[in-house]
Symmetry: C3
Amino acid sequence: QEEEATPLEQVQQKVEVHDGAISKLNALKISGYVQPQWQWGQQDAGLKVGGGNVTENDNKSAFNRFGIRRGRIKFTYDDGGIATGVFQLNIVDKSNASGVSQAVVQLKEAYLNVKDPWNGTLQLQAGMFDRPFGNEISYSSSLLESPERSRIIQTLFPEEVDLGGKLILQAAKTSPWNFLKFEGGWFAGNAINPETNNRKDFIGHLTATNVIGSTAKWGLGASYYNGGVYQGTANVYTMAGNGFVLNSDPNNLSKYAKREYFGLDGQFSFESPMGMTQLRTEYIWGTQPGSNSSTGSPNAAANPTTDTYIRKMNGWYGILVQDLGQSPFSLVLKYDSYDPNTKVKGDEIGATATVAGAVKTNKADLRYNTLGIGGLWRINPALRLQVFYENVKNEKSANLASTTRSSDFSRDQLDDTFTVRLQFKF
Amino acid sequence: QEEEATPLEQVQQKVEVHDGAISKLNALKISGYVQPQWQWGQQDAGLKVGGGNVTENDNKSAFNRFGIRRGRIKFTYDDGGIATGVFQLNIVDKSNASGVSQAVVQLKEAYLNVKDPWNGTLQLQAGMFDRPFGNEISYSSSLLESPERSRIIQTLFPEEVDLGGKLILQAAKTSPWNFLKFEGGWFAGNAINPETNNRKDFIGHLTATNVIGSTAKWGLGASYYNGGVYQGTANVYTMAGNGFVLNSDPNNLSKYAKREYFGLDGQFSFESPMGMTQLRTEYIWGTQPGSNSSTGSPNAAANPTTDTYIRKMNGWYGILVQDLGQSPFSLVLKYDSYDPNTKVKGDEIGATATVAGAVKTNKADLRYNTLGIGGLWRINPALRLQVFYENVKNEKSANLASTTRSSDFSRDQLDDTFTVRLQFKF
Amino acid sequence: QEEEATPLEQVQQKVEVHDGAISKLNALKISGYVQPQWQWGQQDAGLKVGGGNVTENDNKSAFNRFGIRRGRIKFTYDDGGIATGVFQLNIVDKSNASGVSQAVVQLKEAYLNVKDPWNGTLQLQAGMFDRPFGNEISYSSSLLESPERSRIIQTLFPEEVDLGGKLILQAAKTSPWNFLKFEGGWFAGNAINPETNNRKDFIGHLTATNVIGSTAKWGLGASYYNGGVYQGTANVYTMAGNGFVLNSDPNNLSKYAKREYFGLDGQFSFESPMGMTQLRTEYIWGTQPGSNSSTGSPNAAANPTTDTYIRKMNGWYGILVQDLGQSPFSLVLKYDSYDPNTKVKGDEIGATATVAGAVKTNKADLRYNTLGIGGLWRINPALRLQVFYENVKNEKSANLASTTRSSDFSRDQLDDTFTVRLQFKF
């Protein structure tokens, strides 16, 4: 017969069992965040929660809405092996993918990451995840210091995520090359929707990040997007002079319009007696196929069926986050700009076309600049209060005048917004 | 060099590590319930699972359906700090928000609760959660002794939840005032849907609860709802004599009809050799704007577009739950009543209007009384079997006679139901 | 005063507390899988990810799609008591229940299992779960060696699951009868959708499984399905000669067409120096009500509204999985066949009806045979790479010739597929 274990040995055995059980339990990490907010907007503002503005008491003026801007639960399985799996669900009162009813839970991310078993230099990621372009797309929505990403990001990269596969290359931590990271791959080009054609879009991002002493950090990145948008009709318009010239070659139908973006991004942060200072900026330019009335990227479960309008565009943002000493408060200043059509400006927009037979530009070609100013109160590591005012200025054109205030683009639209948001993450 | 830890010290260290890991794991609590049921109904019954009644074998008579009445998973994050976050998902075969396809997972609750850091007297809650009105709304669906909430609750407060913010005030446990609790706040007034207008509805509930000796408990509450329903047309009808009189002032359009409820609720329970006895009751009265054919509250992602009919209504329920000694069985008796229009009764409904030009009332103005009798078998703490018969009686009016049985409201409708349900919670 | 606990006793106490906490945490098991894939198909193939084939660059030829074939999270609550609850969510970019938009999270399973408290011989299961018919339906999608289930399974049993209740009977492990297992019950007959009529479908499966020595295992099963499909019109067609004869008795409307399947299944596996060898096969035959153009089973939230066509059908599959010695690689060979209408073959299909007034058969009556060959690389216990080619052959009929290639069923359709899939489970 075996000797009976001593009390200490018995405890040791139990603790070993617990060790295994806890490891297993820790392999699945459940995190999430919820962001209820109250938002106010001038009469033509586009608020991110609640239904659009309506006439009330015979009046359509400034309006406000309460809602859950973001509700997320993320399941990450990582047992220390080479493969990691991630699901993220979107749980809000107003679904943000087109055509889906309210209060419906949606997929936000679902992917698989496989590391090479040797030193993790090479990773393969496949599924639905953030596009590897620039810095703001993959900046977590739970940490974002402005309520929303910049207008150019929202327009070019709806939903942040796309369906595809990418490689990640980064030297081991011990290597002098560890400060460089490359991510690149091929994507469906269709945001959160199923793939609808054979054409894959390449997206790549190369970054360098490092520290300066013990108080400062910098990062630089360059991005490239090379894809195509399905031409749903034979009519393809390109800019000539101040208008769009039609090419209606029947062969245009079912070919691809070039979708090409270039991006540069930079980040810098340092600590001082004034508190931590963060600066981030990004500049993007390139060619965007769209429709007559929109320059948004494809975000639907079917190929486009409208005429194609090809525009040269550019835009940028800069954000400054200044902590107030060691207090839990920060000031935030952000400026962003998106010019959907760099070939025309001001009164040229909507003007009679200088080229015979060309189509006039319209309000979809106006540049928008947004100045945002706000504050953060980091109540505790999990909870933050955000207040933010956004002053949105559109380019004005005398040729887009109207007697109806909300259609009168010879003036600045009434579309400022003010946001009060609670951000809780776990 | 350090001295090596003794075996006991090593175990102590590991146990400390486990302590931290277990605390972290315990911060996120996942609970839920699933309630499969078989339900039978007379030919015009409204069952809560499955599709509606259809002609079968040339006959449209009593019918039965199998389904999952409620499927819920709730994620509660509470690490002991001042903020708590909650998500609850609704996972059933038949979605209960309007216009959404089957088998779709939906948001049920999503909110954030922040306690004041001093003594927790004051709490702020924001997001989508149960309306603070009366007792039955927030009585957990996993514990409900009748299959459904009362008709008046289902009609006035669809989906139980609304989008908004509330304050909770309750003195510390050590205070003599701890037996009092106030909850009140402003809500979108639109159930589970996004907010569609500026008007916020106030809802408040004041309760007193206490014990009598060691065997009895009582609770009393008073509630108030003060809101508005968007008038989608210029036509607003109010009762005069036995009919609805039209006010078609163009200014009515886009104004708000007053939605105002008052409520009183009481609970009493005591233990005796016969077993635990519970009594709960609630009385609600007020003004409800609706349409010609319905007195249900707004529950859609858009403002109403129909003419507004304003009615005075009232209703109540009483429920008795009697445990059978120390056995796992309980008897349940429930009576509930909802009168959508207290100004007319019996044959007055549907009668020719006494006021010239007034619109006749109709079946939407009939009172419904439901007598329910059922039993519970508490198989174990997690599992319960519920059987319940509901005898539904509508008010009868000779002026709503019809040769079609299901439209003949001069008689009692054939709408009794019988429910057999398994309730599992974890 | 109590004596203070010794250090060892203190640790013992803490470990006891941990024991309880870990048990509670272990009661809820969260598992899941994610399967991103790239799939290629000939021009008329039906791929399981992405949108259908479209004309591109003036051409509609072979196409490929990237997508998440399956994304699942499963919550199983089992605290060792008699009741177990299960929820499984479906999280993919393309929803697989009809009529639901993309990226919407859906219910896949939701059920409750109750064991008898004595020796677990008898179990009752209620809710939404796999139909107890044959072997492949309940073979986990995370383990499937072919990308999809066989055509006959997909056609007769869409979504695998149905809504209902079943009994499971299996003698205790100590009993000589433990090798036998019976599962049977009644189901809505409507796949993942709510029940739409009173008729319940019986499904039963009897299996015997055992080992031979320490290296081999076998299983045999017999299944029966006896249900009914709602006749949405008075027109019911049955086969006579080579065509469909109409019975248009008005009484047919709202009666039920018999849906009856018989099934036999067998499994055999053994280990040898060549590696593990697995063989599985299943043969199903019976009567399937459908429409003129489809033999798929009901899978919608409403009763059918089309004319009923009743066909005798049969089909089978056989799969061989051969591990390559002790390597992480396996070869997979699968053959499956589905003949939706056993009364006609080859050129008889689409031929002029021999019985006066009968309706001709059509492409829905063609048999399909699929030969699949593939490989598996079991990278680690959680991760597997699957490559698979499927050669799909349809029955040919000179009477279904067409000058359009994709409608020409006098030839084999161009519908082969090739799948590369990563399978991660946790």
